[in-house]
């Protein structure tokens, strides 16, 4: 592991060759030797993944690497061809396309499927947390892309998940909105401390947010970087710039080649 040098350790950035063995009692998701095949194509080839309570994990990979496939298997949408998938039942997901039910008001979208007491109050306070209390009675179609994603986040958080799965939630947003969404996600994560598994193709996003960065390539979670730098992070910090280069290289992107 070339990155595990002195400079990086000093900067509290370290990379490990494998995902760390995790403490079983705090584990909220566990995937072992997961194979998933669609017809002839094997998308996931013996994938291992463990997520501990409260940690922020981002999963990056080239498009087509199987990121969404992994999430779908994790959420139970697709049955694995073989292998083991365990996840806490206190799980919630925010999709890339916000996926609000267009014919239910913003409030009802957040309340949809909530169980227990005070459903309306819980929905309202989740909406207030994302700063959209006053839009509770609007139709989803009147929301901007960023607002819709915030409602989607509120809907996920209202479920008080132990693991929050985010499937490229900000991919369709403009850069400025994305930055404010990062702040919002970090704030909500800091307050509720769910484990977060966020899939993204944006390396900067991964670096800005994650405790651990995983790379999905060749159907396996192949590399991990662990970051302990305080947030918010300065992406121009030399260690982070170097980490970015390393991650790009691991994704198979060679700057010299690309420019020649």
């Amino acid at each position: 592991m070339s990155v595990g040098n002195q400079a990086n350790r000093q900067a509290d950035v370290a990379m490990a060759a494998h995902t760390q063995p995790l403490d079983d009692s705090r584990r909220v998701a566990h995937v072992q030797d997961l194979h998933l095949r669609f017809g002839e194509r094997e998308i996931l080839k013996g994938l291992n993944l463990d997520i501990q309570a409260g940690e922020f994990v981002t999963l990056i990979g080239r498009s087509g690497a199987g990121k969404t496939t992994l999430l779908r298997a994790l959420m139970g949408f697709d049955a694995p061809t073989s292998g083991e998938v365990e996840i806490t039942d206190k799980q919630a997901i925010a999709f890339q396309d916000a996926r609000l039910v267009p014919w239910r008001s913003v409030r009802k979208n957040v309340a949809l499927g909530l169980r227990g007491d005070n459903i309306q109050e819980r929905a309202a306070s989740a909406l207030a947390e994302v700063g959209l209390a006053e839009r509770a009675d609007n139709w989803p179609m009147t929301l901007s892309g960023g607002e819709a994603q915030r409602v989607s986040l509120a809907r996920a958080l209202a479920r008080e998940p132990k693991i929050l799965v985010l499937d490229e939630p900000f991919g369709a947003l403009d850069a400025l909105t994305r930055i404010s969404m990062h702040e919002l996600v970090l704030r909500l994560w800091g307050r509720h401390k769910p484990a977060v598994l966020m899939v993204t193709h944006d390396i900067d996003e991964a670096i800005a947010l994650a405790d651990r960065i995983l790379i999905l390539a060749d159907g396996q979670v192949s590399e991990a970087a662990t970051l302990t730098t305080e947030r918010p992070r300065d992406r121009y910090q030399p260690e982070l710039v170097e980490l970015r280069e390393q991650l790009l290289m691991q994704l198979g992107f060679n700057a010299a080649e690309a420019l020649s």
């Binding site: 039910v101 949809l112 179609m141």
Partner: protein
């Protein structure tokens, strides 16, 4: 000789009745509907931007000089030309009575009870009853069948082939068979209307259910919705626009079936008035009855459109009215 002449006229008027009855409601309603939709969507942008509620929007649509009024100009022009044709004796008023005459006939039919025709309102009620019975019966059965077929593959395999067969069956070819099976009273008429209503309602509801965005089904799984919640919050509202389309088409086809069904041994209803009018060579009466059919078609279509406007506000992005 006279008899032969009568027969030709009867045959002629039957044919013209058929084409008028079938084309009028559709021609009158369909383009109107799409135009209204276009207006709605045009209004939607500004409504959403200004965050106005629906009353304001309705006011804008019907303000003097607005589109709703402008759309009345061409029908009024037609009425004036029709009147002028009569006044200028371009066509025999026997064949084409002018609007004022038709109005007078309508008034007479309403105000006086005649042995030949009864009253117009009585006839209308009789026709409405048949239509209503057929519509409710056919509509309910079709809706339930569409749910069965739409919500499960087994249901689809069981129900859909039968409905597709029924769909291709020429509806009015059933009349002689129905007369043998069910006599010539209310039952065969109601059944004919019911089938006419059922087919568009079934087809639209079924396809509506099936075309609900699959990603919302995934969402329902992610949110761990129960089947009932999924049905109530996702599937039925998602299919609702199609269900309304089916409702409108079902009403129109049901009306068409009514017009034809009422020719079976009619002793009451608008069909009876038309038959009598044909017998007495009284075109005025026939035209009045046809206009009443059209009116019924327009009114019910309008009702469904009001329901559409009230219930599909989410599509136009107006604030929820609580």
């Amino acid at each position: 000789m006279a008899l032969a002449g009568t027969e030709t006229i009867v045959a002629f008027s039957w044919e013209s009745r058929m084409s008028t009855a079938s084309s009028l409601p559709t021609v009158a309603s369909a383009p109107d509907a799409s135009a209204a939709d276009a207006t709605d969507f045009a209004a939607a942008g500004s409504a959403a931007a200004a965050s106005t509620s629906s009353p304001a929007r309705t006011r804008r649509r019907f303000r003097p000089g607005g589109r709703a009024w402008r759309r009345l100009i061409s029908p009024l022009a037609l009425l004036i030309i029709w009147q002028a044709v009569g006044e200028l004796k371009l066509m025999s008023t026997q064949k084409l009575p002018e609007p004022t005459q038709v109005a007078h006939t309508a008034y007479t039919l309403i105000a006086t009870h005649s042995a030949a025709y009864g009253t117009l309102q009585g006839a209308m009620l009789a026709s409405l009853q048949r239509w209503g019975l057929g519509f409710v019966f056919g509509g309910l059965v079709a809706f339930v069948l569409a749910l069965i077929a739409g919500l499960s593959r087994n249901g689809e395999d069981a129900v859909d082939p039968l409905m597709q067969m029924l769909r291709t069956l020429p509806l009015f070819g059933l009349i002689p068979v129905f007369e043998v099976w069910f006599g010539i009273d209310l039952l065969p008429k109601v059944l004919l209307i019911a089938i006419g209503t059922a087919i568009p309602i079934y087809l639209n509801t079924f396809s509506g259910i099936r075309s609900v965005d699959g990603s919302l089904g995934e969402l329902a799984r992610a949110l761990k919705l129960s089947y009932r919640e999924k049905l109530w919050h996702i599937i039925l509202p998602g299919a609702f626009p199609s269900i309304l389309v089916g409702l409108r088409q079902g009403l129109a086809t049901g009306l068409l079936a009514l017009v034809v069904a009422e020719q079976i041994n009619a002793n009451s209803g608008l069909g009876f008035i038309i038959n009598q009018g044909a017998q007495f060579l009284n075109n005025n009466v026939i035209i009045v009855a046809l206009l009443v059919y059209t009116l019924l078609g327009l009114i019910t279509d309008w009702i469904v459109r009001v329901i559409e406007r009230r219930t599909l506000t989410w599509r136009r992005g107006i604030e929820v009215t609580k």
